[in-house]
Subunit: 212 residues, 2 copies
């Protein structure tokens, strides 16, 4: 039974024994209702485990968001169907340094989130871990700043590409590069999604620390 294996693992950690015994007692009473005993976790250990599982799920969503953003932005280019003798009108993300920063920032955050997955899995098993959670909160906050910086800098440039600015005499380029603009606007979504996920991840880690 996988629950037994989990209990054996948990029992290496002090103060978790009671939860396992409680779970075993409940399991005896309703052994055929595996779902109900999972749906109603018992006391602090169960809630902490739920928080840790949610942490893992949110990390996966954030990985997908940042990866999609980086790929969508990184593969964007558009060549206009008309060209003069000397110039071929072509737009790609590396023409604007801010968009390059966006791709780099999203890639770094994505790599960090993938590297943090093992630690998140360890937290499901050892829900009383303290220092590793502190480390994750700090790094999550730093990565939140990085992904927000990338996303909002890119958003400022995308806004400018759409609307232009009359006072600074910057013209909107989206009339010409239509599909380029759509693509770079769309690629922001994943990044802002990851931002929200990271805020929730910080909150979840804090809740797990408070409930130890």
């Amino acid at each position: 039974m996988w629950e037994d294996g989990l209990c054996a693992l948990i029992n290496q950690v002090p103060y978790q024994g009671e939860t396992c015994i409680e779970r075993a007692l409940t399991m005896k009473g309703s052994s055929e209702h595996g779902e109900t005993s999972k749906a109603a976790p018992l006391g602090r250990g169960g809630v902490s485990k739920g928080v840790s599982v949610l942490d893992l799920i949110l990390r996966f969503i954030a990985i997908i968001g940042t990866l999609a953003s980086a790929i969508a932005m990184g593969t964007t280019n558009e060549t206009l169907p008309f060209f003069t003798q000397f110039i071929r009108f072509k737009a790609q993300y590396s023409d604007l340094p801010t968009l390059t920063f966006f791709v780099v920032a999203n890639s770094i955050v994505c790599a960090y989130l993938i590297l943090s997955l093992p630690l998140s899995i360890v937290h499901i098993i050892r829900s009383r871990a303290k220092y590793s959670r502190l480390l994750l909160i700090f790094l999550d906050a730093a990565m939140l700043a990085l992904v927000t910086a990338g996303a909002s800098a890119a958003a400022a440039i995308v806004y400018l590409a759409h609307k232009g600015n009359v006072r600074a005499n910057w013209l909107a380029i989206c009339q010409q590069f239509d599909s380029f603009c759509e693509r770079i606007s769309g690629s922001l979504i994943g990044s802002f999604g990851a931002m929200v996920m990271l805020i929730l991840l910080i909150l979840l880690s804090a809740i797990a620390l408070a409930r130890r």
Copy 2:
């Protein structure tokens, strides 16, 4: 003696009594060295109190940073000494929507930080508070995202104002509006400083939660 008043307040909170008694014992031994007994805090309570005091100090620094940024950006305008019959060349922050967002974001974060000061002071006295710390971590993370968004969006525009972009045919405006550009570049510093402070504030709250 103010220490007694503080102890009386702390004693309303369970499990804090020992720390006060310990402090009283140390105070008796070195009643003339008030500084030393404050410099060497006793056990968990002392460290938590130190963390809470540091939290308050960092909040003050972040308030100064965001306030300075908002004011420096908000009061920027430059009128060029030459003008045509119809147009007077004038630059101010509200010409660029991104810079307006920067001012608004910094003002909101500054207001939030001022409103969070009473809670931070309560944490110095009641260092075992749990739910209020969780609330602060969540709001700090949200405000970190907001101030980072404002600062990096403004940085993207300031970069463009300095360097321009050849491919998008956006010209650098800093040749003309020299002092305007210097001012908006400088006003970013306070905002990025507040960003670092907020990351540290999240970490400090997490440490305080872990040490309860």
